[in-house]
Symmetry: D2
């Protein structure tokens, strides 16, 4: 059994990790920390876990995380970088669900996250945890940077197009929509039910932290200079993410070949479902599951290709993806413990 610790288990990615790990056949939940909730049984905060998760939160100083085999950080940005070095030294693997190790360029990180990076020496080592495109690195990693939710959809949607040099890398437009849980479990007016229900809006159009992360990763897929417009929107739903990706074709290619390109790319990826050409994937078809679904469109058979991508932002977009990485890091089947079927309706 893999001994698992979770730092910061009171947020949505934390409780989602607990939901997944509690039924994972190879995991033993060993410790979950929260400075504020020390001593509180986890199931008292999240009644969905009553009878299923029997440990209590403990303050970071009491929890001996160095006895774990792996520690997940479901924390705000900045926490993992402070604790990772010591854990790694103790032989503990680390998976960070925040952004601390996602961006290799220290300066870019510090510009966007407004904090100093305190262990830049680990930036190079950290494996970027997008299994579908980086499986081998993850398998051998001690430290994994779990991708952002939006970046996951953009990378998996654009990869086959960029890799095969089919589109103008300089004029990508990603119009993305997320459910409200993406904003986290924080007491804030903007995400109150009465503020975000029956409402729709864009946010962060002037600049969102997922832009530099995505651009840097997309740049790896192509020799051309990547130019990405990324526009996030808030949808009045709890879970779910829908990215509408636009790209301009620069080469002749039939729709059949386009479709085949995607199907071939992801034929061995259990969690990427390439739907029939012209389909309209729904976010709810992934609710609670680790599946990402995508479908291709080409209006009027013109030179614009549209990739529609959906996922559950808390599963494939966060905690499910982290468990997927853990499976790889410990030599398990990639799908172990991640076979939940989406909840529909």
């Amino acid at each position: 059994m893999i001994k698992v610790g979770i730092v910061g288990g009171t947020g949505y990615t934390g409780v989602e990790l607990l939901r997944l790990l509690a039924v994972h056949p190879d995991v033993e939940l060993t410790a979950i920390t929260s400075r504020k909730e020390d001593g509180l049984p986890v199931a008292d905060m999240f009644p969905s876990l009553r009878g299923r998760v029997n440990i209590a939160f403990s303050s970071p100083d009491k929890a001996d995380l160095s006895k774990c085999d792996v520690v997940f950080f479901a924390t705000p940005h900045g926490v993992a970088m402070a604790q990772a070095p010591e854990l790694l030294k103790a032989g503990v693997k680390v998976i960070d669900l925040a952004a601390d190790f996602r961006i290799k360029d220290k300066a870019v990180f510090e510009k966007w996250y407004k904090i100093d990076h305190t262990c830049p020496e680990l930036l190079e080592e950290a494996a970027y945890g997008l299994a579908e495109l980086n499986r081998d690195n993850i398998k051998n990693a001690r430290l994994v940077a779990n991708p952002g939710c939006y970046p996951t959809t953009m990378q998996l949607g654009y990869y086959p197009l960029l890799k095969n040099a089919l589109v103008d890398a300089g004029s990508l437009i990603a119009d993305c929509k997320s459910g409200v849980s993406g904003a986290g479990r924080k007491a804030e007016i903007a995400t109150l039910f009465s503020e975000s229900s029956d409402n729709f809006k864009a946010y962060g159009v002037a600049g969102h932290r997922h832009t530099p992360e995505t651009s840097a990763q997309l740049q790896k897929f192509t020799a051309d200079k990547v130019g990405l417009i990324f526009t996030p929107h808030l949808v009045p739903m709890i879970r779910g993410m829908h990215s509408t990706l636009y790209a301009r074709l620069t080469k002749e290619i039939s729709n059949e070949d386009l479709q085949k390109l995607f199907e071939d790319q992801y034929k061995d990826s259990a969690f990427v479902d390439v739907m029939p050409f012209g389909s309209h994937p729904e976010t709810r078809s992934t609710r609670g599951s680790n599946m990402l679904r995508l479908a291709l469109h080409r209006p009027d058979n013109g030179n614009t290709v549209i990739v529609l991508v959906v996922q559950d932002n808390l599963v494939k977009g966060a905690s499910g993806q982290a468990v997927q990485c853990m499976n790889l890091m410990f030599g398990l089947e990639e799908t172990t413990g991640l076979t939940q079927i989406a909840l529909l309706p």
Copy 2:
């Protein structure tokens, strides 16, 4: 024109007052205070008011409320009692949307609201602002205690039954449901979209502040001892309140006579709509309007009568009712500025 001031305009009852008063033909919005938002144009916080409300928040010390004809308190409990005496002395009428003057018994107030009452001398004078049952008092009042949202539905629903001694006053059960806006515009986890959407629960079953207010008012309608079980629930909708009121008939009465009793009682009340016997009123039929609708049921023609009552908790349950009181206090038609039709769908 009536010069109107609002204390505490950053909450939901505040912005709802602004929506109603901005189109009220006899009102001039003079001042709106907020300690925290001094100088901020109201329309910057509530873009729905852009081009319609052109004043800015001002800090309480700058706003000269004594020049107003009437001041609404859309504040947490305790604020109105601190400022009302001075305003009244200056000849300004006061309408409190909070609970400071709703409960005549100082000890009961202090037990439930956990604060000292600092001007008990005004408790007796304050008119209880339920126009349908207390119209004359309100007309002559300097100080009005606007009723709570739940208590409004319970009083208007139970009144004809208690007044006519038709039911057992000692075994009333009110199973009530409210939209989330009733919790106010406060940064709290429990009312986040991701917490309260797609969810339903009871709350405060052990004791809710609207119980003593309602019991005291209901007691005025009957010589028998009132016994009330009040169970509030939270509904994943923004606005709307639905009270399902149960009472045991103690006298023979036909359904036709029951229905007639309610129709006669409210025939001159523009904002109470007695629907046909056996109807199912929907909260949305009152969304954004000052209407309260109710309908009677009697399962199997037995001895239980059910009154279904709906209203918009922010309008008839709060700000609309307050404007209705203002109209009466200033000799206007009771319906002035309150003829908005509900938004359906």
Copy 3:
């Protein structure tokens, strides 16, 4: 492996059966019928099942259900009674999720469901599928009548009180609230998003088919005459059911003893969670899981006891409960394939 057939798989209880059975370790999905969708792969209608359920709908005449070990009827009322006799004769067990075999009294059934009962001879034999109260009968049954969703909550909530003769059986009031999926997957205006979102209403107050079912079952628990007022309401959420059950205590009993009564009653029932006295269970704590949670309240320590009960109407209230019965009928652990943790948030 148990060979399973499903009749009528295009509704919500049908797709929910598929979600549960597709991961059930002892089940082989053999046939799923739909007259209208003959030949359509199930996953084309429900994309959440893509890659997980690979069979197609077949018309009833083509599907050889007699080769199944058990057949679930996820159909409108009246279908199971037409096909059950033949299947039973062929040695196939039958679980009906509709009402055909829930009510033992043919006349009562026909009055409420407005159809003739065509195989009254099976009414007596059919086991009522509420495992917590009828486990032994179910184990030995060939034919199970799966309980209605509302009746499940009312029976499990009232049972310990009635069984122990603690309350007035003649004045029970059940104020119940259901998510919209309870209305099924039918093209109807009343359950459109634009009609039922941001709205709350009661329905069927004059008489609901779950009243006679529940009354007949409750009557088994007590020698006194049961009198039940049941008021259903529609909540703008997809899944979830919340019953607020009122009863009048007729005996002295401490809150501790009340609580203990419930805990003892359900200590061996894996799917009933008795929460601490005074808790407020949330429907979302059961979303997607087969758990039913309940909590006791006693306002002012008076003579009214309130039982708050929540469940997922499609799982414990329908398909999960049916699988639970199947497990018992085939000698499996009752919880097999039913250990999904609720999706929160």
Copy 4:
């Protein structure tokens, strides 16, 4: 008083017309037709109108629409073209909320709407009812084609850019999102609460009827060939529309000048609110009102300009816009009866 008739008042644009016209100071509601609901009081179908609209539906043959001054068609496509000629002959003005007269090119209309156009002779005469860009034509029109909801946002958002030849007209991308009421009040599975709540998806990406309408109108603003990619999405909210419009700048222009261009363009348009540069308009800021709000963005000060546009699809996107046209056609102030403030929260 203007005598108004409505054909087809049982849908969402119909009830919205009723909400607006019932409080319009210059209107007398004369007739409302429905073949199916002949004799039913309007308020029995829409309880929000109880006490406010006292007429009943009448079958088309009974209603003498020729006595009206103006008739609104809130009907499916094809109805207005059948009845408009006769009404116009009788001197009645006609406003069609459907698409019958939106597209001047008969062949294009017939291709997209799959019906023959039966009065092509009126196509040229019909004024396109987008007051902000076509005010004079509307004032003098007998027949108005009320614009589609999506096209309203796209035209008002792109107009200043195209008119001033600032952007590449051939590569416009409009990523648009609509509330569910846009699908109408029809019994269909896809728009059930349980299907469209807590869900997000694109639809009609391969081709939507609003594309040819919009392209034809946009083409009027520029000499360059318009190329428009239009991608509609369904948002789990009742009302509201958000269009995210992308265009590539082809000329140097400062953000200040861009902003000024829009402000100048709409300074006399009471229903277009140009928000500060970089704002994020919310759909709810227009809920129930005839306002359309827009804001400009320019990521990284690059060559992509984004226009965010919001409106209530049933008001400015349909019935409010129709009343706005009526006001112009009868020489009234354009804003008469249309000054409702948006319902927020």
